[in-house]
Symmetry: D2
Subunit: 351 residues, 4 copies
């Protein structure tokens, strides 16, 4: 059994980690940490999870945690992750950070989007960043893993087949739509149910930091692959799941058939990416409700009538493939388990 | 492997059976049946379940199905179930019916609530009815199993500890609230999203047939246990999950502590019934969102301030513990597997 | 023009008062008060209401307010209302309180449900309480008006025809279902969208203070009319609108026809109460979505099959007929205007 | 009184027309037409509108209708509108069509997007198309008025200040998000509540016919103003209201201040367009919930950090400003009434 600690166990991603660890055959929960709710049992904070969790209660994270864990999952705010990563690096076999603290390697971009997150440059350089599908080999022996943001995961999985096929993406406009769970459980008036329900909330209409991750990642993977990438993000009126639409303008031509085939081939060995035709089932897909609760990312590439624009749609459950599920997937890769171990749950739909 | 056939695979309960069978280590899907959508693959009808299902397509149900299945699960409308049960009885090791065709043994009550469902009396008498928790022993060798309705499951699990403790329940008023998935996928204008969303729809305000099941069941278990039982049911504005509130008036006195203890003791060995205190977590429970996607039924007994009324709240996922999950649970019991096999998934919350 | 002041203008009821006053031909807003948000314009707090409101900003309520107002509407928490009513009584032509401070005349009941709301006994006795439909004559010259709670309004309008017809209601079980706007905009984790959406939240499962109002009101109107009255309340997954179901047990017999006629006759001259047949339109009614944004209360009386139970359903918009609309209706009555002035807006459905 | 007939009174836009006509001081409903539901009263079909409507029942539309009406509003499907317009043209003072039958003047574009809507070319040329704010003068004596689609209204109001300021918009990417009421009440499985709720449904991911209207309109207004315009549309999980995001790429520079001022000046005399700053109230705006039930269109222009992209957000209630409200506004203009007559209702929020 791999001994797992969770920091930030009170939040939504923390709760989802608890759910997935409890369903995983090879993981054993040995620590639950947090700065609030110290002394409380996880079940008090996560109404669905009425599990004993070995009697564990939430405790502050100290370096002694390393004695009890093989891996620590950080579902903490970025500034907290920045400091915990320093505390635990090299003391456990792996630190997996779900926050934005170590995602952007470019210092300027990082400072622009995470002005309050100071971090150690040497440490930062050691973090492996990326969706497991694209950097699986690097994760196998990574001591420090930084997982992409929920939108960044969807966008990256959506664009990678194009980039890796050698297309030059002159302009990419990303429109992201997410449910309210994307905002966590902070107490903000605008997130109370009466004001958040029924909303189309333009919370990041002219720029979103997940776009910076994506730019930074592809710039390192293949310089000049993407010209301009502009993103806007909206909160819509459901709870769980997101859809990222990438509108791609390129001078290179591609037929619809070729486009679809490129994606199918690219992901043919990836158990968690489902390349879907838009009309293959009784609702238009991809739709995040069709991945709810699962670790799937559904991807559909399309072409405008006149071939002038590629539209890539990618849907995922922001708390699973966009956070906790992807973290477990990374742990599986890191510890040599089959990628799907403990992650075989099918989507719960309708919900 | 136990070979499983599903009739009625196009509907919501059918889809949920597909999900659960695909996640079950000891079940093998060998047949998917239906009268509509013949020839289509299940994945076309269930957007979340993009699984090959062994290449099976939907086929009409004939008695040849018996050759391929050890158990057939009927997720069909009651009139269809009534005829399929006759077709398959004694040809497979077990028929499990999720419809209302064989739930009510009292002929008058049956005729009142299922006027269009003719059925064979001898066959009817052979059906074992009840929530698995209360009739587990009878399920072990039942050839024919009729599962309670979703509300009936919640109400029965809510009232059984009182009845079996010997209380006489003079008057029980049941108020049931369910999400839209309770109504299935029939094309009705009132169930289109614009009219159904935001509704509190009093669809059965002065009587509901699930109450008849409950009365009939308890009358057989313990005559005179319940005096009057009146039910009303409402559709509220979410998709999955129901809450049944039973307001119980009795002359016998019981303290809040004793009440809670009675329930805890009664269900202490039942893995799927969670007796919960109303305030034990950060939302008031039971709340169906805290069981979403799982086979749990959460039960909370309460007492009015002045002790004059017992309030029993029971929440479950109508498609799981109220339908498909309970069916798998019955199959587990019938075939001697641990009750929880394939049903250990934790609730997906928030969703 | 009648000069109107609003205290508690930041909250949901305050916002709704602003909406209705701005649409009223004979009312002029002369003061907006509150203890928080002092100095801010109402439009900053109410995203829909981008109106100048005569340049008014939120100011603390002092007795000088009386110089500027003919009537002050208190949309403040009960303890604040208790003190403001004392401050303003007899200084303005009318004080209309929307809180629970002065609803219950019975001191013991008041202390039980509002333990933290001390109030002046003499002042309390001067308050006229009740839904305008039932106490219109007393409102015509009332200096102090206390409006019923949202649920109390629905329950009272639902039961009054029975009580005033002379029926003895032995047992009444009330099940109330409301949207999230019923809980206001206080910052509570359980009310954040991810946890509140999809919920059936049993927030008052074994007793609700609005039942105390109803009992107190009918006891004064007709002693012994109601034997036992027990209430439970639930938050369901939409924003605006409530449904109160009253399950009435009585020894007296009444036919369905007689029952319906009793209600039709009783409310025939009341513009805001619509007595509706359950199946008169394409969704089952009453349903709060069919009154959304309007001052209507829809009422449907039904009888169980066997005549053993009367079911009275009453639906209203908790922010309009359950709060702000009813306040304006009271102001109309108090100042001799037609009851419907400024309140003729039709329901916005679907929404 | 202006005598108004409504064709297509059973649908959602028809219901909204009924609501608005009933609240309008100068309009008198003299005819309600439809091909389905003949003989039924409007109140049976519109649960919120329990109004007598002068005893009118739904009747087939014939040319005799012209005798009873000064204006006929067509809330009918495009093929029906195409034929009714021919029937009624020049027989009534005005025909106002809410469908897409006569929106696109370019024959090729029309054939591409409305292949099944044959129409008379001469008649088509006589139709005045456009949002009232931009073509008010032409509406004053128009016999035939074709109103823009709901998305087209939002996009056009969003882009007009830029186009009319002389900017050349090289590329415009429009992402539209709408609630389920945008799809009407046709019986489609995908629109049943269980499948539609919680969805982000990419129903028109690679092209939407409202974009063709917009292109056609601006091409006539100012040739070459817009280079490429590509649109995608999504159904999100609420009922009423839409948001259109226009991502504009231009070579011309404009500062954020100048941008905002351009819009404020442009719409300063327009009562229904509210130019709003993104953070001016407690939720990010524009958000369609802040215009619900009203005839407002809220518009917010923004600039990306680096000035490389203009983001124009426009929110409106698709059934009011996007359909019925705009129709009444057109009638007001046509008959010389103040534009806001009968349309002064404020948004109902939260809902």
């Amino acid at each position: 059994m791999i001994r797992v600690g969770i920091a930030g166990a009170s939040g939504l991603a923390g709760g989802e980690l608890l759910r997935l660890v409890s369903q995983h055959p090879d993981l054993e929960l040995t620590f639950v940490g947090g700065s609030s709710n110290v002394g409380r049992r996880p079940a008090e904070l996560h109404p669905g999870l009425r599990l004993p969790f070995g009697g564990l209660t939430i405790q502050p994270v100290t370096d002694e945690v390393a004695d009890r864990c093989d891996v620590v999952l950080l579902a903490t705010p970025a500034p907290v992750s920045a400091s915990l990563a320093g505390l635990l690096a090299d003391k456990v076999a792996a630190v997996v950070d779900l926050s934005g603290a170590f995602r952007i390697h470019d210092p300027e971009l990082h400072a622009r989007w995470y002005p309050r997150v100071a971090r150690d440059t040497v440490l930062t350089d050691r973090f492996v960043y990326g969706v497991p599908e694209l950097v699986a080999d690097r994760m196998a022996d990574a001591l420090l893993i930084s997982l992409p943001g929920c939108f960044a995961t969807a966008i990256t999985l959506g664009l990678a087949p194009l980039v890796d096929a050698g297309l030059r993406l002159d302009t990419v406009v990303v429109d992201g739509k997410t449910g309210s769970s994307g905002g966590g459980l902070q107490l903000r008036t605008a997130d109370l149910h009466p004001l958040r329900d029924g909303a189309i909330a333009p919370y990041a209409p002219a720029g979103h930091r997940h776009a910076a991750e994506v730019r930074d990642f592809f710039a390192q993977r293949k310089s000049e692959a993407i010209g301009r990438l502009a993103m806007s993000a909206y909160g819509v009126s459901h709870v769980r799941g997101l859809l990222a639409s990438s509108y791609v303008f390129t001078d290179q031509e591609i037929s619809p058939q070729e486009l679809h085939r490129t994606y199918v081939r690219y992901y043919k060995d990836q158990p968690f990416v489902r390349v879907r035709r838009h009309t293959e089932t009784l609702i238009p897909v991809p739709d995040p409700q069709a991945v709810l609760g699962s670790n799937y990312c559904d991807v559909t590439p399309l072409l405008d009538d006149d071939g002038s624009r590629i539209v890539v749609l990618a849907a995922l459950d922001n708390l699973v493939k966009g956070a906790a599920g992807q973290a477990i997937q990374a742990v599986n890769l890191r510890f040599g388990l089959p990628q799907t171990t403990g992650l075989t749950m099918q989507p719960v739909m309708p919900a």
